[in-house]
């Protein structure tokens, strides 16, 4: 029995690591107050329903600089990656002031204009201000 208990210790440690991992991760960040991609699944097949993916995002103002000063601009970049972490395309790369936005962000094509296959994809959203940086990932799915 003692041997079995001793042998089980590494397994219990691994389970603890897994639980710690599951507890981590959040959509709330220092620069990004809230972010959501919709609709998911979306279906870019040209039928007028769910043809594009939208990003709803709220960016926090700086805690140091005066609100909406030029230095408070936030650089937002959004990439689409597949489940093997390959970047398929860049769908947004620009500056925004703090506030809430709803951006039409992806039409289901890669950087060369080819339609990507159905499946689950990852939006890699990075927001960077002069003093802070946030990186988050949002899962989305696409069907045709």
């Amino acid at each position: 029995m003692r041997r079995i208990m001793r042998k089980s210790i590494p397994i219990l440690l691994l389970l603890l690591i897994i639980l710690q991992g599951l507890a981590s991760g959040s959509y709330e960040g220092k620069v990004i107050e809230r972010a959501r991609a919709f609709p998911s699944p979306f279906s870019p097949n040209g039928d007028g329903k769910n043809d594009s993916l939208f990003l709803s995002i709220s960016l926090r103002p700086s805690t140091v600089l005066p609100i909406y000063s030029e230095g408070d601009r936030i650089k937002l970049s959004v990439l689409v990656m597949d489940l093997r972490w390959r970047v398929l395309t860049s769908v947004f790369d620009g500056f925004l002031l703090p506030g809430s936005y709803e951006i039409k962000i992806w039409d289901g094509k890669d950087r060369e204009g080819r339609a990507v296959p159905r499946g689950v994809y990852i939006l890699r959203v990075e927001a960077r201000s002069s003093e802070r940086r946030d990186l988050l990932h949002i899962p989305v799915s696409l069907v045709r």
Binding site: I4, K7, P41, S43, N50, V87, R118, H137, V140, S141
Partner: protein, 277 residues
């Protein structure tokens, strides 16, 4: 022997699976997916059906791939078993599933293989079903199937592997499924295992490295590291993992993945449990 043909028939009859080159197993992920020339594990079967030929005892296996940093909703896993048939060869079944963001996909892979001296030959059928329902629209669903072929050859401590995943394939939705060609060389000697693979699927060409070191005797505790790196474009990841063989018949493997595009943060883990019967 008398059960061999009925078992093979059932394996082919119920064969469905999705074909993504995503390492799901804890050991295969820890080796960076460089497993096409490895041997003897059910979790390696999706990469090369010829690996089934080196299954020496019945074994079952389950693996779960979880993610964090906002991706907790994506769930990927696989479970399977392998059976040596004696002189007729060996076979296995691997069930896999993918769920997340309103999308579901799953299926089975059914490899069978046989050794002919230092050469192993394997064949497998994979197929899959997928389903998703966008808001305000009807349900989208479909199926696909593919034929895998593979071989391995032993030469001293070296083992060579070659497989073609989805060598022949079809999809109910009319999708184009490109075959994946995987080739690798591995060495298993002393307390170290290493492998180098190259893989080509359409324009997607990657090189994979895996290294494993046995820390304690009799196969108890192993540490490993791996990497997938694309020949062009971006993507890829580094992985680290550990494996533990407990009581001589149960294994647990854990790996963490660090994609290059994720800012150096671990973004997923793989955990597998296997039992040798």
């Amino acid at each position: 022997m008398r059960w061999t043909l009925p078992i093979l028939f059932l394996l082919l009859l119920f064969s469905h699976a999705f074909g993504q080159e995503i390492p799901i197993g804890g050991r295969s992920a820890g080796l960076g997916g460089a497993v096409v020339a490895q041997k003897g594990e059910v979790g390696f079967l999706p990469w090369n059906p010829a690996i089934a030929s080196s299954l020496r005892s019945p074994s079952i296996y389950i693996s779960y791939a979880g993610m964090f940093r906002g991706l907790e909703g994506i769930s990927v896993g696989e479970a399977g078993f392998g059976i040596p048939f004696g002189p007729a060869g060996s076979g296995g079944v691997v069930l896999s599933w993918l769920s997340g963001a309103g999308y579901e996909e799953g299926g089975l892979i059914t490899p069978i293989a046989r050794e002919f001296g230092p050469i192993s030959l394997g064949i497998g059928i994979r197929g899959g079903f997928w389903s998703a329902k966008p808001e305000g629209e009807g349900r989208f669903s479909g199926s696909r199937w593919g034929l895998d072929i593979g071989t391995q050859a032993k030469l001293g401590p070296l083992r060579f592997g070659l497989s073609v995943i989805n060598a022949r394939s079809t999809s109910s939705a009319g999708e184009t499924i490109s075959p994946s060609i995987l080739a690798g060389i591995s060495s298993m000697s002393g307390s170290t295992v290493w492998e180098v693979d190259i893989s080509s699927t359409g324009d997607d060409k990657v090189i994979r490295f895996g290294y494993e070191y046995l820390i304690s005797g009799e196969g108890d505790l192993r540490v490993r590291a791996g990497m997938e790196y694309p020949f062009k474009g971006n993507g890829g990841y580094v992985s680290i993992g550990i494996g533990y063989l407990s009581l001589g018949w149960q294994t647990i493997d854990l790996a963490f993945l660090y994609p290059f595009e994720a800012g150096g943060e671990a973004i997923g883990y793989r955990v597998s449990v296997g039992l040798r019967l």
